[in-house]
Amino acid sequence: MPPTVDYHCPCLSRTTVPPPPHLPSSSHSFHALHTLFFCEECDAVRCNRCVSVEVSGYYCPNCLFEVPSASVRAEKNRCARNCFMCPNCRNTLSVVPSDPPDPGDGRLTIPISTIGEPPFFLYCNHCRWDSAEVGITFEKPTGLAAQLQKFEDSAPDSLEFERLKEHFEPVIRASSLSSSTSTAPAAHPSSAAHSHRRTNSITAAASAALARDIPGVSKYNPLARSGRGGSSKDKTANRDEMPEYRSRLDISSASSLGTGGGDADVDSMRHLENVSEVANLEQRWVNSWATSLQTADLKPLRIPLHSKRSKRCPACAHILIKPEQKAQSVRYKIKLVAANYLPAITAALPHQQEAANPDAVKRTLGKSTTVAADDDRATAGMHAGKTYPFHLALTNPLYDPIQVRLTVQRVHAPAPASGRASPEKARRPPFAVSLPSASFPIAAFAEAWEYEDDEDDDMFGLDDDDEFGIAGRVAGREKDTRGKIKTVGVLEKKANVTVVGGEVVIGKEARGNVKFNMLVSYTYRSDDPTPSESNDAEGTVSKAAASKPPETKTFAFYTVVDLGPIIPREEPRVESDF
């Protein structure tokens, strides 16, 4: 497994400080960068766990028809056109005409052009199941769902469900009416209550519509209701009381009608000769209703609809991501993903790359990590009691250059501090991490760089890395055992990527993973200047080199860096079978 860097979303805790990396809860607070969103309003990272999700449209994954949300419920969440799923293998079924009648001479006659002959049936190209096996054929190849509708509607489960709906409808209507009248006045004055109701905007809209003043009908309000007393009071007071429900069929006799369960199944099981006569769980699982156990009773299934969802920030309710309405489109109308705001960090262990591919070291880190990914075996592992350098490649997605400062959060220490711990303090954690303590720049992102592979750095005025290199070197000077080779500090700058070297000293008794929390804070030129200096915000850019720096903002976020497992001292030749 290559080293990973995950990003912290503080939604699970009250503080912004993440849990220590060795706790199991750590993995719940950290996410891969590509799964995160960024709310511009709140200036905060949002993860899939904290965003509020809403459906922005339904579509059939097979025919890509956008189903209006009004008909989704009526069609029972499945495609009502010509899309069916094989009940045997869940592949898509296609409608095919029947073969021409057999001439009966035994020899297969193959007409060179087939004319579609009724009856038509549904046919699975994968497992060769066809609907004629279960006695379903069609006179014409269009509007199959409508032709099948009568089978579906006449199923005992479906009829029972309709009856139940009918039975409960007056009760539901009564309760929604009374709830709308009781909550509607409360919702108006306080905006807090209003924002809370946004979560179920559909029910709110429905109840508002029901509570609307209709001419000729006396308006429902608590006062009027209490004045009327009598019947309406009964309705709310005895909300739990409802007429007794009588089912269509007696359940004990229903199994003989093919609903499944009961004596009929026991009987069929007794006469079972072949396992394949019984539909397996997977085949019955996708059904809406309990179906019979027999494979012979499996019916083609309408394909379940999929939905496109948009996500909102939980704090300010701004949309973070919103897909385009069209089912064919894979683009987004709004897309505020964290990858466009936070620098992307990839970690790499140079000694692993050398072991995997000696040539790869010369190349950029982002590429060589993928090369090293598959074959870091025991040679590339990290042994206890040794010191290893590691690289962090930071990629700036912003159109402005940024200044980044990395800080390692020390394990067991309450306050985040530099990883360059004094030796007696470093006793407790199994390893110590050193990173350049000074901030370093990353150049702005430009599309043109994506096309230029090897460009000399000083073309972009980035030849001032010496001071940062030295500053970083001071941090790791005690561990710089290799002498000439610089391991801690800024190693490489290319386009909008800066590679920073760090070093990890692993204790003699260390076990587990080299995994540490790292605070990344970066400073960038703010787009929206403060009101006091709004006039000369543009002007300061030109004299940025002068004493007055441009308007800047700092954003900080936590990451967890997992460099991989430590190979314990005791058995140095252990085979790493992770």
Partner: protein, 177 residues
Amino acid sequence: MAPIRDKYTIHSKAVVCQDVELKGDITIGSGTIVHPKATIFAIAGPIVIGSGCIIEEGAIIVNRRKEVMRIGDDNLFEIGCRVESPTVGDFNTISTRARVHHTVRIASYCVVGAGCLVVPTDDEYLDDYTVIYGPAAERRTWSGRGKVQEADLRRKHAEYLREMLPKFNRLRRGEGS
């Protein structure tokens, strides 16, 4: 083991591309199409392929037995499949990257699904209309409905290839022609 003696008998109406690896005693029937990069190895016994078969790129057909390996008519061997069955009937489809061991004999109208492994240790005979599908190589029996249309499609497929392949590939001719 004695060196394999190459002897190719290719029907004049068959389309066998130049870039095909053939070894041993191989007979290819009329109208059969062998795509480039296909491999046919008659290691032990000869291989006889009937008419109208389609053998796609990367397909491997091997005869490990002394007896003649007979492949019937109108079979389709899709890309990257590997077949070692001693007999194959007519109108079978061996899908992409499927693998059929030498212990399996195939009747007619069988389908081995994509990526399916049919590798029993004991000898086995796939009856007519056997369908093997899915990651677990499940089996069922096809009703046979639609086989005429499928056969028709197979014929058209072969016909199209007979027309198009020679335009873009050099063809191999049998020793007789």
